[in-house]
């Protein structure tokens, strides 16, 4: 009995909406635009601010070391975002973390064996052997290199899926060699399509979004060959000339990633780095108290402002727009419902309880909400691509329609419209049957 009555209400709702198409269209449009704008910006916010490695982000840490002292600090007292070579290497030698890796961006020219082909450029990072395990890099074939390879500075490389396809087509490049910048590298691993957004392990040099990387090579090899990083280099004072002068200066340019699974590990590592800094102070090389930081991935993303302010402002404006649309819809629904005061009077006179009136009109609001939600969904799907392209985010999630986006959009639309319909429904239910039945 109940369900068939509810179905009847749905039919009533559709009939009433059809009777005044202009008003209906207005309501659906208002909801659709408001929901579309809000969901688009929210999706963008989610994509840009999403945790790139949610199952592990609280175990991976980006430490910061104060190599510059009080004169080099920014206004908020923070140490530099990157490390200088000597301090990074010294801290890494302490082996105070379960896993650790130096990281620095690097690029090479690839000279093809075919003399008629032009050379091309590849970009990537110089990392340590433990890097791949820490970031759970997915391998299509092969593995990363070993700690021994790090020590011996072996010319080995892990290549990305795109480069593999370009050089070897469908076959795997493992075991083959590739000429990078004039040196023959042995390919030990081929990655699957992997592009964590944002690229949390190198925010010191990029804003975190961009194309997937082509190559990963051993950090020690790059230093040995005196290849400068392809990223930023910040010096608080002039370094002595020459490679060694720069390498052993306090110019900061590289990153350090560590894995600290438990709270005890975090404490151990923090104490180790602070202890090292205190030693440097005692020996007189650095003249200030330890001022280091240890942030896990989510905190690091926050600190590096990965989510551009523009995205937040857009979201704020979009949700305010939704608020206006809802006030609008409250007014329109009020108008629509109260116009049917005679009909409500008849129903109430025939014995319908206030509850039934509530149900009827809340269901009508829900129907409007659903229709508006569908429109909003369409607008979101169109708008999402545009907004994310604006911020140069390549989100794999967008390549196929995300079920959660659909569910959230329709759900939110339904809920806010029903909420907006509460006041008009209360007014409708308080219609006095006797007044409506008088011939007036």
């Amino acid at each position: 009995m109940d369900s068939s009555l509810n179905l009847y209400y749905v039919q009533l709702a559709i009939r009433s909406l059809r009777r005044n198409p202009f008003l209906t269209a207005l309501m659906v449009l208002a909801i659709g635009l408001g929901i579309g704008a809000s969901m688009t910006t929210y999706a963008a916010f989610r994509a840009v601010g999403s945790d790139p490695i949610p199952w592990k982000s609280h175990q991976l840490y980006m430490p910061q070391f104060d190599a510059w002292g009080p004169t080099g600090r920014s206004a908020d007292g923070e140490p530099p975002d990157a490390w200088d070579y000597d301090d990074a290497m010294n801290v890494l030698k302490l082996h105070a973390a379960k896993h650790q890796s130096p990281i620095s961006p690097i690029g090479f020219s690839v000279i093809p064996e075919d003399a008629s082909q032009k050379p091309s450029a590849v970009e990537g990072h110089a990392v340590g052997s433990e890097f791949f395990g820490m970031v759970d890099a997915p391998f299509r074939d092969g593995t990363g290199w070993s700690a021994a390879d790090d020590e011996t500075r072996a010319p080995v490389v892990v290549i990305g899926a795109k480069l593999n396809e370009k050089l070897f087509g469908k076959a795997s490049g493992v075991g083959k060699t590739i000429n990078l910048g004039g040196e023959a590298f042995r390919i030990v691993g081929v990655l699957k399509d992997w592009n964590p957004q944002p690229r949390y392990f190198d925010l010191a040099n990029t804003d975190g979004f961009g194309d997937p990387e082509d190559v990963f090579v051993p950090f020690n090899w790059v230093i040995d060959k005196q290849l400068r990083s392809h990223g930023n280099n910040n010096c608080n004072e002039a370094s002595p000339p020459g490679w060694d002068g720069w390498l052993h200066s306090t110019c900061v340019w590289m990153s350090v990633l560590v894995e600290l699974p438990a709270a005890a590990d975090v404490d151990t590592f923090r104490r180790a780095v602070d202890g090292y800094a205190a030693d440097q102070q005692t020996s007189g090389r650095l003249k200030w108290a330890p001022n280091n930081r240890l942030r896990d991935v989510p905190q690091w993303l926050e600190h590096m402002h990965v989510v551009p302010d523009e995205v937040r402002v857009l979201m704020l404006i979009a949700f305010s727009f939704l608020a206006v649309c809802l006030v609008n819809v409250v007014g329109l629904m009020l108008a629509k419902f109260l116009k049917r005061a005679p009909e409500i009077g008849v129903r109430r006179a025939l014995g319908a309880s206030k509850l039934e009136i509530y149900k009827q009109f809340l269901i009508e609001a829900a129907v409007v909400g659903l229709a508006g939600g569908v429109l909003g969904l369409l607008l979101t799907l169109i708008g999402q691509r545009g907004v994310l392209d604006l911020f140069d985010v390549q989100s794999d999630q967008l390549k196929h329609i995300d079920i959660s986006v659909v569910a959230i959009t329709l759900g939110v639309s339904l809920i806010v419209t029903v909420l907006a319909g509460f006041y008009p429904t209360v007014r409708a239910a308080s219609v006095r049957p006797a007044w409506q039945l008088k011939s007036n």
Binding site: L23, L26, L29, A30, L33, G34, A37, T71, S109, I111, A115, K118, P119, S120, A121, G181, G182, R228, E237, A238, S239, P241, G242, W243, G245, W246, P308, D309, E310, R312, V313, L314, L316, I317, A318, S320, F321, A323, V324, C325, V327, N328, V330, G331, L332, L334, A335, K336, L338, K339, V387, L390, F391, Y423, R427, S439, N440
Partner: protein, 408 residues
């Protein structure tokens, strides 16, 4: 027009008035700030870089299979090849250029051992062709001579004996206008002095879209160096109307002269500018879309609600007409009523607009809203409200006096 009866009637039907007023208030708050953001962004995008963008294109060149020191001869060779290409007016090689997004910066100091530099500046490596190529103008002093251009080996500090700076930088470091011929210190504590031999009118720094770079966006320093590196950036000035042909020809000639190179990108200054300001243009566009949609939705909502309201008061209007009110009286009644609601809405909305702006200022480094925006916004909302209520009001005015006696 008596306000009191209108207010009385409104008090009896608060819901509709509050809904319209609230919509107008929120719309005002949003439109003010959105307009402000749009104007700010457009102003940001409209800044002139100081270079002759229409004639210029830039490309990156990577020399393959050569060492960094080889570029000492590779650079002059390539420059000669490019200069000989038909369609090319002039060219120079550098580390960076305005709007590129990345480059070098350093502090300029008046004393050698200054802890905090007097001004921050970007550093562009240049030769004697740079000024001609870029199209910037020397307001005083002279250009570099060919003999003054020296090689800068990798990992060596930038310590030029002569430099050319922009007018804004000159004024910042020497407010009394005496910059020409004076010496400043670039880089660290042991740097030798650099003499300012020339001042150019305007040259923007590479950085766009970050507050750090915005603070010194017109402070640039040209240093007479050939940076020895495997990567070079060439800025080319094409002859009028021949830019696209020159882009093609330059690449062909360079590859023909030496195959061992990669030219990862070639961009006209139009493309460079578009890339640099992509986010700002996008924000301005999105804000415009939201503004338009908002005004449309609010207007439509007012039309809808006001129509309904007029319908509710069908009988009263008829009575008024029967008692002698003219059509104009009815029209003015509704317009005045709308004006009162809009007035209240604007008052609340203005406060909300300023509040929203203050919130944005504290959290997102935006500038303070000027009262002009609130006034403009209020005017727009007022006109919007009046236009929206026009149609229902006209309909109300057409209600004949006989409606007073009809029972329906």
């Amino acid at each position: 027009m008596h306000i009191a009866p209108i207010l009385n009637a409104l008090r009896r039907n608060k819901a509709g008035a509050i809904l319209i007023g609230l919509q107008l208030a929120l719309t005002l708050a949003i439109v003010c700030n959105a307009l402000f953001i749009i104007v700010q962004r457009l102003g940001y995008i409209g800044r002139e870089s100081g270079v002759d963008e229409a004639s210029l294109f830039v490309f990156r060149n990577v020399w393959v299979g050569h060492s960094e020191l080889d570029s000492s001869t590779l650079i002059p060779t390539d420059l000669a090849t490019i200069r000989a290409t038909p369609g090319v007016e002039d060219v120079y090689e550098t580390n960076s250029f305005p709007l590129s997004g990345g480059g070098w910066s350093t502090g300029l100091s008046l004393e050698q051992d200054q802890v905090k530099s007097t001004a921050q500046s970007t550093v562009y490596s240049a030769d004697e062709h740079a000024i001609e190529t870029l199209g910037v103008h020397l307001v005083s002093g002279r250009n570099f001579t060919a003999e003054e251009i020296t090689d800068l080996a990798p990992n060596h500090n930038v310590e030029p004996s002569v430099i050319i700076i922009t007018q804004d930088l000159a004024t910042k470091v020497f407010p009394d206008g005496s910059a020409l011929g004076k010496a400043v210190y670039m880089g660290g504590r042991t740097a030798p002095p650099s003499t300012i031999i020339g001042i150019v009118d305007r040259l923007q720094t590479p950085w766009v879209g970050n507050s750090w770079g915005d603070k010194f966006f017109l402070y640039s320093t040209l240093v007479p160096y050939r940076m020895l590196s495997t990567v070079g950036t060439f800025v080319v000035r094409a002859k009028p109307g021949q830019r696209d042909a020159a882009i093609k020809a330059v690449q062909e000639r360079l590859y023909a002269s030496d195959r061992l190179r990669i030219i990862p990108w070639v961009r006209s200054y139009g493309e460079i500018r578009a890339r640099a300001y992509k986010k700002d243009r996008g924000m301005a566009m999105l804000m415009s879309i939201v503004c338009t949609a908002l005004l449309l939705v609010t207007a439509a909502g007012i039309v809808g609600l006001a129509s309904f309201w007029v319908g509710q008061r069908h009988r009263q209007i008829g009575i008024r007409r029967a008692l002698g009110a003219t059509r104009n009286d009815i029209l003015r009644y509704f317009q005045t009523e709308n004006l009162l609601i809009a007035g209240a809405g604007i008052a609340v909305g203005a406060v909300a607009a300023v509040g929203l702006n203050i919130w944005l200022v504290t959290h997102y480094e935006m500038a303070r809203l000027s009262p002009l925006y609130v006034l403009t916004g209020a005017l727009i909302i007022l006109v919007l409200g009046q236009l929206a209520v026009l149609q229902p009001a006209l309909r109300a005015a057409r209600i004949p006096p006989i409606a007073a006696t009809r029972s329906v």
